[in-house]
Each structure stands twice: as C-alpha cells, then as structure tokens.
Symmetry: C2
Subunit: 253 residues, 2 copies
Amino acid sequence: MKVLVSNDDGIDAAGIIALVEELEKFAEVFVIAPLMEQSAAGHSITIKRPLKIIDFHRNNKFFGYAVDGTPADCVKIGITTILKFKPDIVLSGINHGSNTATNVIYSGTVSAAREALLMGISGIAFSLDSRTSENIKDAAKIAASITRTTLLKGLNKGTFLNVNIPDLPIDEIKGIKVTRQGKAKWADSYIKKYDVIGREFYQLTGEFNQFDENDDDSDHLALTTGWVAVTPVKLDITDYEELESIKNWEFNF
Amino acid sequence: MKVLVSNDDGIDAAGIIALVEELEKFAEVFVIAPLMEQSAAGHSITIKRPLKIIDFHRNNKFFGYAVDGTPADCVKIGITTILKFKPDIVLSGINHGSNTATNVIYSGTVSAAREALLMGISGIAFSLDSRTSENIKDAAKIAASITRTTLLKGLNKGTFLNVNIPDLPIDEIKGIKVTRQGKAKWADSYIKKYDVIGREFYQLTGEFNQFDENDDDSDHLALTTGWVAVTPVKLDITDYEELESIKNWEFNF
C-alpha cells in the first residue's frame, strides 16, 4: 500500500511524525509537506511564483520532501512531479487543533485531502482536539485504523473524510461516530497592535461558539464529548434545493 | 441600501472599480479589498500576524480601505472593525477570469462571498470570463441587476451566489441560467524554472478540461456558450448520502 502524507503544521510537526511512524508498520509512506506552517491556508494554491522542493531529514535520515507552499500545493506537486504516480490514499495531519464545523472551510489540513480527491485519489484529513497533543501516538493508531477501514470499504468518488480525534488515551475514547459538519463558529474580533513607531495593526482573535447542544450528529459535539468524529465531505458544493427555488426568480438586465 | 464590496484582484483592479461605479447609482457603497492580488487564495485567512488597514484613493478621492490580507480577511475585519455594522449584502469582484466548476474551490473571489454568509450576510461573487475584460462595464450593469433581484427575493441562510458573466456586449448575452458547479477541472503540471545561480524551482501550469458537454445545468458550459451562470453554493459541505453509507462500516481500533 502506497500512502502520501501531508499536513498544514509543517513537515517537522509532531503530528505528522507520529502518523508516519504508525503508517510505516503496514504501508510504504511518502511525506510531502509544507516547509513552514500553513494553518488557516484554506484551499489556497501558489500560482504566481515557482515552488522549491527541499529534501528534509530527521535524525540524520531522509524523512520526506518539504515544499515552500500550501498543503494543496504539496499534494499537486507531490503527485504530478515528485512521485509521478497516484498513491492509494492521501492523508493529511495529524493537525494540532480540531477542524470541526466552520473550521472545515478555513482549514489547510482539510484542503490537502480535498486536493487528493480533485486528483481522483481518496483523501482523509486527521485533526487532534488539542495543541498540547499529549495523546498524539494513540491518535496516530486510531488514524491508521481508520485509513485501513477506508481503503477496505472505499469512498464514493465525490467524497473525502474529515476526522477529528479527542486528545485522550485510547481506552478513554468512547468510539467512532459518523457525523456531519456542525454549526459551531467563530465570533471574530480584532485586537489593536502597534509597531515600534506606533502605527496601528489589527490581530484576529475570537471565540468559538457551540450551537449544536441538541444535535447528536454534529462533528464538534461528538468530538468534545469523547468521540472520534468522522465526517464525509463533498466536492460538489452546489445548493440544489436553492437552485430549484432560484429558477423561479425573474432576472432582468 | 448599504453594500460592502471586496475582491481578490486587489483594490485597484478594473473589475472592482467598474462594479462600484455601477452600484453607486442606487446604493451606499463601502469598498474594503486586498491591497495586493490574492488570486487562488481559497478561503485562507491571516491568523499569525496583524493586518494593516490603508486608506486608498483614486483620482484624488477616497475610494475605500485596502487591507494587506486575503479576501476573507477583508470581509471579517471590514464588518467587525471598519464598518462596525452589517451591510445589506457583500459583493465580491468583478473578478478578472471565470470561477466555475472546481475553480470555486480555489477562488479568493468566491471566499469573500462565503465569508459574508458565515457572518450572517447575503453574499454574491461575480467573475468575468476574460482577463482582457473588454465588456467590464456591461458586466457591472448585469452584476448590479442581479444584486437588486437577490435583495428583493432573498437567499436562504445557508446559501450564497457564485455568478459568472461572459465577456460579451450586453445585447449579445443570451440571458441568465441558474446552474450547478460543473465538472470541468485542471490537469495540473509544473514547469522547471531556475534561479540566477541555477537552483531548480517548479511553476504551476495546466489545462482546464471541460467534462460537461451534455450537461445543460453546468456553470462552465452555460458561461462558455454565452449565458450568465448563477450558481447557489452551500456552506454545509457534508456529504449526507455517504454519511448514511459510512454508518454501516465497522470501525475497530
């Protein structure tokens, strides 16, 4: 089995290292990941400048290819130019921090799995609900297991998976729930900052608000109550219901 | 009527200028747009550094606020920090180049309209199918008309519109079609480039391939055959069909 692994925290993040170590037990693993952190990169790609590919070593051993671009860039250049073949699956993560609800839209981690699907390859994004990542090795075991199940069962060709894992020891996790994108979202605000000569700048901050208290299918609620949340995500984001209703509008120009 | 206008080509692009001139005939217009071009920014946001807001003038007159960030940043900081009120609608564009099919995923133009919806405001992304933009003034008239119809009819709260306009004189346009995201997509490749001391870099290039020949509902096909394509896009990108099927998988870890 051939697995391409990318992420958005950068090639030297603990999450990707833990995932690769677990995958190497049963697969041939290729690491192609951003050189620098790309959190909140969304599905951005680099079109205005050329990309650099750097051999990245860990403990004096080749670990993978670092690309000075985004997660989606890594998958694109990885498959077309570095590997030159299609792996069986593309995995992204394990991200340090969850990617539930509206964060699915901003997430660089998620974009690498989506880019795989755009290229006709199964993709899974993995995120851990914590920045301290105490249980990252247990999370990697769970990620490896979900990868094997996904390859065995097969996804339909318009879908990839977004998986969020609680930062708990494996025996304290309640199980796996198949969920939908929840309604939790950020209430944004900006804090004023000043540079050394007193000019104003604005730093994004905010609060993540949960709106899914009574919704058993929400990814965010499942995750924060001790479940691994597995959400299938579509490539086709047309709103077909609204499409039928808009057909009745009278447009004039 | 209060309208916030952003884009991804940057605050000095011909497309945003033409759109603003047309809107000013019937609305109070606020321009908050990226200082620098943000094409293919996807739905990225700036979280690691503070943003700068610059008063931008055209013809010795205040035109709007330039932000050194992405389209989604402009909408976030625009509404929370610059305007401090919710406009009636957020418009993005007019983009120089179409945003149909899979380009909806990479597009910075589209992300500004999506960000508006995330903040509970109607959003429309406008793109012109041309980089030369000969008929940009006619496109702005069409965009203004679609804006008025949308405000009159109202969108449901999980949907924004992605509108693509052919670069044709207004009397050569066939009309408006309500469409879905087509299946056309890029076949990517990378060209080798070298820096002044001979090191290798890779520049993204590719071909956009049409796969919708027989699909009357495709945004890309409608656009390239002379129609304005109006596609409703969802915030919730869960694949509900696949969700039911994955519930039957047996996960073990």
